[in-house]
């Protein structure tokens, strides 16, 4: 029941800081981290849209692109599974340090997302139809 109460009562990380009162540096860092996380998760759908699209080419030429998309997703999920927000009773400085460090990890994941999505977009733009792709043996 405690979780139920918490879920119902907890304020949105998306709320402007002014609505929740002035945020501490740690709270602001946590909010920024959650926003980054949500923004990346929204792009995860895109990873799978492109994976599905590339799988439809039935060509080995798409393998590195699919591998890149899956690696980006795995990096995100790995972050998620290991993320553990420090207790609110922890020292503010250590909370801030944790959120800042996690932000760096997510910045790296975001770069990976961007790079792999850009590659997939480029490939599918260059080969709008699956049958355009030459099989690797003919290269």
């Amino acid at each position: 029941m405690a979780l139920v109460a918490c879920l119902a009562a907890c304020s949105s990380p998306n709320k402007p800081i002014a609505e929740n009162g002035p945020a501490s540096p740690a709270a602001a860092a946590e909010m920024a981290l959650m926003n980054r996380h949500d923004s990346l998760m929204a792009q995860t759908s895109q990873l799978y849209e492109f994976k599905s699209k590339l799988s439809g080419y039935h060509s080995q030429a798409t393998a590195p692109y699919i591998h890149g998309l899956l690696a980006a997703d795995a990096a995100m999920m790995d972050w998620m599974h290991h993320y553990k927000a420090p207790d609110t009773t922890a020292a503010p400085a250590s909370r801030l340090a944790y959120f800042q460090q996690q932000q760096q990890v997510l910045t790296s994941v975001r770069r990976q997302y961007r790079a792999t999505l850009d590659s997939a977009i480029k490939f599918t733009t260059q080969h709008p139809a699956g049958d355009d792709v030459a099989p690797p043996t003919s290269r």
Binding site: M1, L3, V4, C6, L7, A8, C10, S12, P13, N14, M34, N35, H37, D38, M41, A42, Q43, T44, S45, Q46, Y48, E49, K51, S52, D73, M77, M80, H81, Y83, A85
Partner: protein, 232 residues
């Protein structure tokens, strides 16, 4: 005759008008059916049939280990969303809002809830069971926390993302579809025939209030349909 014209005619007209206004058949408020529709001419030359988009066919396993399909929700309305157990971002807020709706309808058999995990590799049946218990959801038949990967299916994640996309593209014409369906905090209200009747942003209190307002409208429509069938 003058008296008739001056006094009785207006009275008669007013009476007729009043009767007409009060006795006109009332048009029940109905929620729109969202998404694309297909108009199919009939072979017999009769009026064309309009076929509305429905949610795609699915086969999932819930926190009780039960297989659930579209048929599980036949004859009922349900609210669907997408989440994952380790999500530190919008999911706790989103599930907190859905919990409010669930609490109101916890004993109403006309409504069910379906939360799909988008992390099937991590969210096993036991993880989903634990998640449900932490929300104090004890009856899996009322609120299903479901996975596409109960049996280690290698394409489980592809399946759930395709499902999410299909849910929301079934509801929105392509040009309106915002993308990021699986993690944008949207609730979908689905009717007893698999049509999407409303989309609600769980992070916006006004939208959640709209769900509270519109769910009874849908239930009244479903009740009416059942009475119609029973009366035949």
């Amino acid at each position: 005759m003058v008296l008739f014209n001056r006094l009785l005619l207006p009275a008669l007209a007013a009476a007729l008008l009043t009767t007409a206004c009060t006795e006109a058949p009332k048009e029940a408020v109905r929620l729109p059916i969202m998404g694309e529709r297909d108009v199919r001419p009939r072979a017999d030359g009769g009026p064309a049939d309009t076929v509305f988009a429905t949610v795609p066919r699915f086969r999932l396993v819930d926190q009780a280990g039960q297989t659930i399909t579209n048929q599980t929700f036949a004859g009922r309305a349900y609210v669907a969303d997408f989440f994952f157990a380790t999500c530190p971002g919008i999911c706790p807020k989103m599930q907190g809002e859905l919990l409010k709706v669930y609490t109101k309808y916890a004993t109403d058999p006309r409504v069910a809830f379906l939360s799909h995990t988008i992390d099937p590799a991590h969210d096993s049946i036991s993880v989903l069971q634990d998640y449900a218990h932490r929300l104090d959801v004890r009856d899996a038949a009322r609120w299903h926390f479901a996975t596409t990967g109960a049996h280690g299916e290698p394409t489980a994640k592809d399946t759930v993302f395709q499902l999410a996309q299909a849910y929301f593209t079934a509801a929105l014409p392509d040009k309106q579809a915002p993308g990021g369906f699986a993690h944008n905090g949207t609730f979908a209200l689905v009717d007893d025939q698999g049509h999407i009747r409303g989309l609600y942003d769980s992070l916006n209190p006004k939208e959640v209030a709209r769900l509270f307002t519109e769910l009874p409208i849908l239930l009244a429509e479903i009740d009416g349909r059942k009475k119609g069938v029973a009366g035949k």
